[in-house]
């Protein structure tokens, strides 16, 4: 039950975009088309799960054991950047169709603070391995859900009769406000 609460809490209640305000750059930048939003969400999911798992292991067996926790941020950043490079290379070589749909978002993920945020939250909240895995799966799924919903709304807004000063980003930000308010109503569910 605790793990289910942790998962749905990460997806809906502590949503990385609407509740923790991390990953706003891709949320606004890559949400004009639903297909791009799904591609970004998939790439973020792969990177967050991999980065969280590797950094959790490094934190537990290297940084804590050697008592060099002051190195945490720099180690996590290097691990995330390395994972992105490795993934990009593997996709280029073995999965060209996947690279075509996701590859363009990979460099954006290196600077996506949602990835580093999830890694840090896993460590700071003292999650064990299973909790870390569930949380690291829930956070990017929440990211994908929100960016997909937002892109669907933005696609419809393109054809809506909106006053000229509100077209584009202003109306998108107003929509994001309403979405954050709607998601905040889910607080207390778990």
């Amino acid at each position: 039950m605790e793990l289910i609460a942790l998962f749905f809490g990460a997806v809906l209640i502590n949503n990385v975009i609407l509740s923790q305000f991390l990953g706003i750059c891709p949320f606004l930048g890559v949400s004009k088309k639903t297909s791009s939003a799904i591609g970004m969400g998939a790439a973020v999911t792969v990177v967050i799960v991999l980065a969280s798992t590797i950094t959790w292991v490094i934190n537990k067996f290297v940084l804590t054991t050697l008592d060099i926790m002051f190195m945490d941020i720099i180690v996590y950043i290097l691990v995330i950047a390395s994972i992105v490079q490795l993934l990009e290379m593997l996709m280029k070589k073995f999965m060209p169709p996947l690279y075509k749909s996701m590859g363009v978002f990979l460099p954006l993920i290196t600077t996506n603070c949602a990835v580093l945020g999830t890694v840090l939250m896993n460590i700071n909240n003292g999650h064990d391995f299973v909790q870390m895995f569930i949380y690291s799966l829930g956070i990017p799924l929440g990211f994908t859900l929100v960016i997909f919903l937002f892109s669907s709304i933005r696609e419809r807004l393109e054809h809506a009769p909106i006053p000229a000063p509100f077209k584009g980003l202003p109306i998108a930000l107003i929509v994001a406000t309403f979405m954050a308010a709607a998601f905040s109503a889910l607080k207390g569910m778990f």
């Binding site: 706003i24 750059c25 891709p26 606004l28 930048g29 890559v30 949400s31 004009k32 088309k33 791009s36 290297v62 050697l66 008592d67 060099i68 002051f70 190195m71 720099i74 180690v75 290097l78 691990v79 950047a81 390395s82 490079q85 490795l86 990009e88 290379m89 280029k92 070589k93 060209p96 690279y99 075509k100 590859g103 363009v104 978002f105 460099p107 954006l108 290196t110 600077t111 980003l169 998108a172």
Partner: protein
């Protein structure tokens, strides 16, 4: 001793990153993916690597 370990770990990770970045750069892009561009224009993040690369490319094409 702590600082020595910290230095060694930093060097190992930085070397790993540089190696992977070099290998990634050397790996040829699949056919049809030579000029992929993200459709992002919204976040106004001036430090975004993709934005800077696109600007440099656009300037090069102008010249």
């Amino acid at each position: 001793m702590q600082y020595l370990f910290a230095g060694v770990i930093f060097i190992v990770l930085a070397a790993g990153f540089l190696l992977l970045a070099m290998l990634n750069k050397k790996t040829p892009k699949p056919a049809g993916c030579e000029d992929l561009k993200p459709e992002c224009s919204g976040c106004k993040n001036i430090s975004c690597g993709i934005k800077i690369a696109n600007k440099i490319k656009a300037k090069g094409e102008e010249n």
